[in-house]
Symmetry: C2
Subunit: 311 residues, 2 copies
């Protein structure tokens, strides 16, 4: 069976060019030029489905938070500012209005924290399970918009936060890195950026393919989360922590590249600006394609994948 990426490629191949489209399918958001002075528009949709992205065991406020936070993370990955959201609730027949109200509450709290207007939406029927789709509109300074493509050989590769084990809970509560991404784009020349939704290895490959480059990661520099370590200790069949950090999905951290000469000033300035959020330089961009891992014993190709829908 075809996976999500192959299907999207098939569906979007041969789409005719359009004068308003700066960036179409294949980036974190679509980028549109509608003549807004100095700005482009960012346009994004993201859906969460019961039993796939959350279960009824989650607090409804957290389900609403996650439904909006995922799309906000994509706006962050372009260094943008979200403006407005439309919420589509596809509800089972037995929906409970109070439960749905609590989902909306989680969503509204996050929207307000980031100045996002909930400008409407609709409800429809999805008899077997709850599905929430969020459409987002945002803006980005034309001179500061960061794409997936743009990584240069020699670039330093950075990741925010700690990776792996998100399904233990953080996937429901994470804060999208909007302020961090805008600060990065305002103070440094960020060559390329993506948010981590499918796992470091898979999302890094997207960034590398978009730029026509490869990467070498330093094993010891990959920031492994406490949850990934705890899960590995708790269950012998769990992934080793480093593999979890490389392949677990739903981290919603930022992965980006900048010229290597900017690496030290960037890390220093970050520490002052965001003392509570770690930033790690985890490797470098190479001319040679593919993804490789370096440790004391040498360099080896890494072929593992994160979560790919439908596979």
């Amino acid at each position: 069976m075809m996976n999500e990426l192959e299907l999207i490629r098939q569906l979007t191949t041969g789409l005719p060019p359009h004068p308003a489209v700066v960036t179409g399918p294949g980036d974190d958001c679509a980028v549109l030029d509608l003549g807004l002075p100095g700005q482009w528009l960012l346009f994004k949709t993201d859906a969460v489905v019961e039993g796939v992205h959350f279960t009824r065991e989650a607090a409804p406020e957290q389900i609403g938070h996650k439904a909006l936070a995922r799309g906000l993370s994509d706006v962050a990955a372009m260094a943008g500012t979200p403006t407005a959201a439309l919420i589509t609730l596809a509800l089972p027949k037995d929906f409970d209005a109070a439960y749905v109200g609590r989902i909306y509450q989680g969503l509204r709290t996050l929207a307000q924290a980031h100045g996002v207007a909930v400008a409407g939406g609709e409800t429809t029927t999805n008899p077997e399970r709850l599905l929430i789709s969020v459409a987002l509109l945002g803006t980005v300074d034309r001179t500061r918009c960061v794409h997936r493509a743009g990584a240069q050989p020699g670039d330093a590769l950075f990741v925010t936060g700690k990776l792996g084990g998100s399904l233990a809970g953080r996937h429901l509560t994470f804060e999208p890195r909007l302020a961090e991404a805008r600060w990065l784009a305002a103070h440094f020349s960020i060559h390329s950026m993506i948010d981590l939704s499918d796992g470091l290895a898979t999302d890094l490959r997207h960034l590398l393919e978009a730029g026509g480059v490869g990467a070498e990661l330093m094993k010891s520099a990959i920031p492994v989360s406490a949850e990934a370590r705890r899960l590995a200790r708790a269950e012998s069949s769990a992934k080793p922590p480093l593999l979890a950090a490389l392949t677990d999905g739903e981290d919603f951290e930022l992965l980006f590249t900048a010229a290597s000469r900017d690496a030290v000033p960037l890390l220093d300035a970050w520490k002052k600006q965001f003392p509570d959020t770690s930033l790690s330089c985890i490797g470098k961009i190479t001319r040679e394609p593919g993804l490789r891992l370096r440790d004391r014993e040498g360099v080896q190709p890494f072929t593992g994948h994160g979560y790919l829908h439908f596979t």
Copy 2:
């Protein structure tokens, strides 16, 4: 159980105001002011669900057509121009890539006909049934945007096309009235407009409630479709044709009001501009709230409803 409208009202009550929002929940589209010279942005999402809005008996191209045409009809109802669409495909586990490709083909053909960029989207999983959600971004001239609110006592009430019996097939093939709506707003002072998705009676009530007014319809002027007449003849349990025209959903025609002095020039100019599409003056707006039907015997209140989700 609560119906869709009551739920949306509950969810969107008390949403904090936002400087970018011109019109929030409760109109055909959200209207946003992002500083685009002379223009507002229109923002809309609309979802179709297998078994609710279409069945697998429909040609997949028609399913794609309908998924996009519904939202385009809402952009039309504000006299706007659609710019870009994002397509969310929530697919059952057994999805067939060729079938999905044909859905996309129907969607792309309609997008191209109206100059809409398919700027991306995503696929996700919805195990039991296909769900397609379309997010739309458009623009509208600030001086020509038509809202649901705005009907004035004494206004003439108009409807395009013929009503009723859409489920016999037209709901899958209708053409959104984009050019017609823009022409109307460019040449006449249109006081209020809505597209017919839930049936004439129900959507008219939305327009009346938004304007704080009522309406009196002339029974004999309501344009009943050939399908509604055919269905009534074919099955004794079917709705009488006039009731079908008043209460069947999914007509996707335009319902609008203009000053009564404009009624004759408007009908004349329409006939020249759109000779193949009927336009009917079906009644007038009244100060007295509520919906009434007039025939040779007199005036009676009409309390019937069209399709309301979840009821």
